[in-house]
Symmetry: C2
Subunit: 387 residues, 2 copies
């Protein structure tokens, strides 16, 4: 194991009748609130009025900023920062999927610096402080409500970059699994692919040899996600399944599974971010194509860990590690297809002529993340396996 | 899933060259330090001088209190509280196994109240504040360095009680797995039994039906503990195995596995605490006897979950759930014996005449913890299965 610091200070309030507490939790950090939400979900699932009422009852002054889209845009982040400053806000409440929460994180660190917030992403400039953030996630997937990462798309440059800092942990996240009852089957499935991808990036991309603890935990979470995803798709109002997915989502990228495993590259994410930077694809949908392709590519050089995964998860037992690893990749692809996700580049309607652009964007990202060995020709080979 | 609050604010610094940081971490909470340690381990494994030097370099004034024993005694807690007050200490550093850390927790909450600290345990009086605590664990087992519980023995009354409060989370825990190189095989094995028992109490004693996420995580951690325990016993200086055990110990009772599962009774612990209240048995050794006996007793009424455990962990497949559950209990007993633990009451040299006393103590504890269905005759039946 590598040395590590683990310190996830986010307080989680989880369950039914939880969102009613947002006022009491938020007022502890300030009275003037910037409330961020997306296009429709907060109003569609009926939580909007609950939140407003709770904040008002607690004596908060609310400034609203809505319409945040998937693959959240830098231009909106900047508008939100401006509004935050103009109204002298003291705390941010982000209500929505990972996009809204990541926008909240970008505002929380961007509002306290004089320079362009994009410098954090583009030049890895250090974050040294942030404004307090309270989150209400409405989808199981990103886990952003319980971690220190964010991903933003620079819409003027078609770049999608991520960033992590200890100042990006939310102060509090209020999670009511009922808010996900109205998520569509497609959103639900994409969220589950996202959770699994977070787990597999860690599983596959650590250089630490004895990681049995982290690996057994990850295998367990994947099994639970697959089981509960199927149950939630069969009955969208299955509270128990929705709750299991929500908590799995929060845990998957909260630090438990990666602590001690050193620096983890997220190559599947870098490729997917490059796809959605160009195509505005739903993140989970892009991952459903990239993940099996990346696994298949990996089997040619590093089959052992993927084979172990297949043996432990699916009791696969091929003639050798390479075969078992290939079967594992195919198993994931088939399951992604079964739950309604696209699994090929043509499912995503990606033009052949754009593959080079995606590969170049990935190379750019890989350099920023100091990930060696992701030149365009390698990325193109991986994308080939996603045809 | 049940509603829950998850908020574990403890900061963990994990790895080699970590203990050198105790001064810098401690001084953030105060200059006047009460340093607690045990009988020998801190000096035997050479960390004592590192700790003193780091604290002195940071400008701390150190008051030492040493000689804390396993099954930590109320009388020592009271002495330590008196010393803390007399020297106007501001922060506690606890260096040792779970006993030393639990003593530190009892001092941290006992030093700020006028009443007898035992009232927290005996009457479940609320803890409303505490002094800051910094921990250096020297054994993988209790996980006390990353949780909000403590167990203290009232030596004048032969009672061993536990308590949990959010004010009992350490501020910081500095964990260097190398400190466990000098733990004996017996201590190492007992610690692993303790970790497994924490996981199985949660696994077996939740009323929540769909707990696949928590259950799969627990199964994974148990497998990793068994694998790494064997590796550490074969080579006590296997850093990787020691590190895996340390992190497993911290995670097992840190809240991740139990969140959403409602109130969990800890019946195996209540019985074991009753044994060690009377016999001063090593906690893990007592558990190695109680755990298989309790599982065996449970198979007669609730075999399904234990059978599932046996299928998932050991690929057991008996004629029916009851048989598989019994095989699971026996499998644990055999493994505990293999790693050098006592597995019967006679191994522990427990006198038949004391069984009633142990059963009465358990009933007493069960009432405090509002655990129904633990009258003396049931406890005696369980103990019978540990003969």
């Amino acid at each position: 194991m590598k040395n590590f610091v683990y310190h996830n200070p986010t307080k989680i309030l989880f369950g039914t009748n939880t969102l009613e507490k947002i006022g009491g939790e938020t007022i502890q950090y300030g009275k003037k609130v910037l409330l961020l939400y997306g296009q429709n979900s907060a109003k569609n699932n009926g939580i909007y009025s609950t939140i407003i009422q709770s904040l008002e009852n607690a004596g908060c002054d609310i400034t609203e900023f809505s319409g945040i889209t998937p693959n959240p845009k830098l231009s909106m982040v900047k508008d939100a920062i401006e509004l935050f400053r103009k109204n002298h806000c003291e705390v941010i409440c982000a209500v929505g999927g990972g996009s809204v929460i990541d926008t909240g994180k970008a505002v929380s660190c961007g509002a306290v610096v004089k320079h362009d917030v994009w410098q954090f992403f583009a030049t890895k400039k250090s974050i040294k402080s942030s404004m307090p953030l309270v989150c209400i996630p409405t989808l199981a997937g990103s886990g952003s409500e319980n971690n220190h990462g964010m991903v933003i798309t620079n819409d003027s440059k078609s770049l999608k970059f991520g960033y992590g800092s200890r100042y990006l942990y939310p102060k509090v996240s209020l999670i009511n699994p009922e808010t996900t009852f109205t998520a569509s089957s497609f959103q639900t499935a994409c969220g589950c692919v996202d959770i699994i991808s977070h787990l597999l990036e860690v599983y596959c991309n650590s250089a630490v040899k004895n990681a049995s603890l982290q690996q057994r935990i990850i295998e367990g979470v994947i099994l639970a996600v697959m089981e509960n995803c199927e149950a939630a798709l069969a009955n969208p109002e299955n509270y128990s399944a929705r709750a299991q997915l929500m908590w799995a989502s929060s845990l998957a990228l909260g630090g438990i599974t990666s602590s001690g495993l050193g620096r983890i590259g997220f190559p599947m994410h870098l490729i997917e971010h490059s796809i959605s930077a160009v195509y505005d694809t739903a993140h989970g949908a892009g991952l459903a194509v990239v993940l099996p392709a990346w696994l298949l590519h990996e089997t040619s050089t590093h089959p052992d860990r993927i084979a172990q995964l297949g043996r432990n998860l699916f009791q696969l037992n091929g003639a050798n590690s390479k075969t078992t690893a290939q079967q594992t990749a195919i198993r994931f692809r088939n399951w992604f297809r079964d739950i309604g996700c696209p699994v090929t580049l043509s499912d995503l309607q990606i033009d052949e002529n754009d593959l080079q652009k995606i590969a170049t964007h990935t190379e750019h990202l890989a350099k920023i993340w100091r990930l060696r060995d992701y030149p365009p020709d390698r990325v193109l080979k991986i994308l080939e396996l996603g045809r």
